[in-house]
Amino acid sequence: MAKFTGNKGKKIAGFSTASMGDIVFILLFFFMVTTTMRESDVKVTTNVPKATEVTKLERKDLTVYINIGTPIPSEQARYGTDTRICLGDAIKTVDDIGKFIAAYREGLDEKDQPYMTTALKVDKDTKMGVVSDVKEELRRSSALRIMYNALKAE
């Protein structure tokens, strides 16, 4: 097979890695655009239910998250396995919600404050009693726009 043995003496052309940086940069920009910064370490696991009528959150920057679920394994020694409320990165009680919401609202622009939304990320095995308490507390702190987080069901 002279066709293939013919170039035995030649060197294989070196392969240029100059464009690799460009490719990785494109990847980098993709991730920077599509993802958001994780705002806090959530200390509870929330396995949200599925729903078909879900809508996207309009303004992520005006959203405050309240997570309700069972504490993560590393926190179970302290808080047990009962349903707990996680505000920001700490496990708190219902009574702390008012302060938490007020603090978040303070940090917002005045014209954005009425559009503040509270996203309730609630584990599907949670009993409604806890959720009702949280909702009552939100009403008291006049954070009336809420969203129940859910996964889009196919």
Binding site: V24, L28, E53, T55, A119, M128, G129, I146
Partner: protein
């Protein structure tokens, strides 16, 4: 100073990919991709204690009372209903195509009707109110499924109405048309009362 013979020395681009890989890894670690999706609701305001409570003007036949009890059983107007049928029951109640007197009545809208093609007078709006009640031991999963079915009932009715009047889906309407369908004809009125034993404010 010695003059350079060449123009610019060539820049070595090999390290660039390493730097951007590092950056990429940083962003991968610190960011999350989960999109927040969910069901939106507006909570009712706390009534002012100094004002007298508003008179209850809703007529009993306009209220669809949905109850989820502590064992996650669903009943609609004191009849046990399967959750799969809830959407159909709610749609039937809100739209009331047969004008059944035991279901919600309609009221003619007179004020603020936008002058846009597709609207024929008289415009009839539903007066239905859905009253949702749950127990403290209802699971959130079932509660959200009920909320989901009720939302689905309203959005299907809105879609039907907008197809009939404007020939498009509700989500494709412009703002005036959407307000007309969503706030006048099929205004979503889901009223929730907290479970009876919800903790009262401690002073």
């Amino acid at each position: 100073m010695a003059k350079r013979k060449k123009g610019m020395p060539e820049l070595n681009g090999a390290g660039m990919s390493d730097i951007s890989f590092l950056l990429l890894c940083f962003f991968l670690m610190t960011s999350s991709m989960d999109e927040s999706m969910g069901i939106n609701r507006i909570l009712p305001q706390i009534p002012d204690e100094n004002l007298p409570p508003p008179e209850n003007k809703v007529k009993p036949h306009n209220v669809l009372s949905v109850l989820v009890d502590g064992q996650d059983r669903l009943s609609v107007n004191s009849r046990i209903v399967d959750i799969k049928d809830l959407k159909a029951v709610a749609k039937e109640f809100i739209a009331n195509p047969a004008n059944d007197p035991t279901k919600s009545s309609k009221k003619e809208v007179t004020e603020d009707i936008p002058n846009i093609p597709g609207i024929v007078k008289p415009v009839m709006a539903t007066e239905a109110v859905i009253s949702l009640q749950n127990a403290r031991s209802t699971s959130f999963d079932v509660y959200l499924r009920v909320q989901n079915e009720l939302t689905a009932a309203y959005s299907e009715l809105r879609d039907e109405a907008s197809k009939e009047r404007f020939g498009r889906k509700f989500s494709e309407l412009n703002e005036v048309q959407r307000d007309f369908i969503g706030k006048k004809i099929y205004a979503q009125r889901i009223s929730e009362s907290p479970p009876k034993d919800t903790r009262k404010r401690r002073n």
